[in-house]
């Protein structure tokens, strides 16, 4: 056993973690913005739009993230007409992939608020937008928080899959270290412990927010 290899390559590993964090950040922020738009489209009165968005969400949720990574890695340079790096295609993938999952979380959250609430709000004279903003959303958000935290854990775990497009996230950086040093036991164990600590920490928050949501 020689754990010094981890300290020796701390910068490489730390840089990998920064890339992983960037992917999580983009996936969460970009994914929630696009996901909210998709959810509004799916709940809208425009049938065709709702149908097309529904199809997109279903397809994205049915295929492995690795396949979606390959899709965009291949397709984006063709669409934009210029070579793009792995980071650009990975960030795009995470935003558009996560959007489908956030869309369903938002939609389920909004639909979970009893319809009587909207009717009552309308009866008090609130408009559509006011009903959504002041009555439906505050209740929907409370129910969504545990699901959103859970999705954040899955998203963080999923960032390790960018290994397949050779983007140096935390796991891929560790892989590079193994390649340089032939120390798979120490390096992969370290990586596993780091992921475990972070994901377990967030999952404790999920437990708390679930209790809070039930109150």
């Amino acid at each position: 056993m020689d754990w010094s290899v981890i300290w020796k390559y701390r910068e490489l590993l730390a840089h990998g973690m920064v890339v992983s964090a960037m992917l999580v950040g983009a996936g969460m922020i970009g994914g929630m913005i696009v996901g909210a738009l998709l959810a509004l489209a799916r709940l809208s009165r425009f049938r065709t739009l709702a149908f097309v968005v529904g199809g997109y969400v279903t397809v994205i949720r049915s295929v492995p993230l690795i396949l979606v990574l390959f899709w965009f890695y291949f397709m984006l340079p063709l669409i934009t007409g210029q070579p793009l790096g792995a980071i650009t295609s990975a960030l795009t993938t995470f935003v558009l992939f996560e959007a489908a999952f956030y869309c369903e979380i938002f939609r389920a959250g909004i639909l979970a608020v009893p319809q009587g609430q909207s009717l009552a709000a309308a009866a008090t004279g609130l408009g559509n937008w006011q009903t959504l903003r002041l009555v439906v959303l505050p209740q929907a958000v409370a129910a969504m928080v545990p699901l959103l935290l859970n999705q954040a854990i899955i998203l963080f775990q999923d960032t390790s899959l960018v290994y397949v497009v050779a983007l140096r996230d935390f796991l891929t950086a560790a892989n590079v270290v193994v390649g340089l040093n032939e120390r798979p036991i120490e390096v992969y164990t370290f990586v596993a412990v780091v992921y475990l600590a972070i994901c377990y920490g967030v999952s404790l928050l999920v437990g708390r927010s679930k209790k809070a949501a039930l109150r």
């Binding site: 397809v59 690795i66 390959f70």
Partner: protein, 237 residues
């Protein structure tokens, strides 16, 4: 956009064969992982719901460890680390003689990961019926093991078919991570066809369609399971 469409690559030799064998590997990895996940999930889920502190603590540790480490990291641990830390004779057997090493390792890694998620569903299902039914089952003279097997599991299973369906779909999609250790499943084959022919649209579209179909079939299968399990109870839940 400058791209020449040619859907016929999908039916040409050897690409059609690659896709078919890829779909076969995906199905084999998914089925193997799912069987392992169900076995582990029911065992751990049952242990977690037992009133003994030690079994439930051990089962909790299993669940937290296996669901909080990314599956790809777990796959690397099984493939690169596990053969190195076990006794040399076993390690050499794994590295040299184990049949279908990529498929076997993928099944073990995904099965144990999915097992931790199934265990949570099983525990939730058992918890909803345990308080009332376990004492009743024991009072009729069943042993605890019989009470779980004959009373709690059958009823709990009926309540968790829907979450288990989504776990099954996650497991099928997860089988694609096997490509990182050289398993030539569906995603890997479609990628290989793209590399050989540059017809990425066609090959990825085909893989997407196959995943959609497998997902639909799996959902339909679980629907039938649900009907068979619930039977006449379906109406009054």
């Amino acid at each position: 956009m400058n791209y020449t469409w040619d859907w016929s690559v999908l039916t040409q030799s050897p690409y059609l064969g690659w896709l078919l064998s890829g779909a076969g590997q995906t199905l084999a990895a998914s089925a193997g992982s799912w069987i392992l996940a169900m076995a582990v999930g029911f065992l751990i889920g049952a242990l977690r719901s037992l009133p003994y502190r030690w079994t439930s603590a051990a089962a909790s540790v299993y669940v937290e460890v296996f669901r909080n480490i990314p599956p790809l990291v777990q796959l690397f641990l099984w493939f690169f680390v596990f053969p190195e830390i076990v006794p040399a004779s076993l390690g050499d057997w794994i590295k040299g003689q184990m049949p279908m090493p990529e498929l076997t390792t993928t099944i073990v890694a995904i099965g144990l990961f999915a097992g931790s998620r199934v265990a949570e569903q099983v525990r939730a299902g058992v918890d909803t019926v345990r308080v009332r039914l376990l004492p009743a089952a024991l009072a009729t003279g069943l042993t605890p093991l019989q009470a779980y097997r004959l009373v709690l599991f059958p009823i709990a299973l009926r309540r968790i078919v829907a979450p288990l369906t989504s776990e099954l779909l996650i497991t099928i999609k997860m089988s694609s991570i096997g490509l990182t250790i050289g398993l030539m499943e569906l995603t890997a084959q479609s990628r290989q066809i793209e590399n050989y022919t540059f017809h990425g649209f066609e090959s990825y579209a085909c893989a997407t369609a196959v995943y959609l179909s497998i997902g639909l079939i799996a959902t339909g299968f679980m629907h039938i399971v649900n009907r068979r399990l619930t039977g006449s109870l379906a109406g009054n839940r």
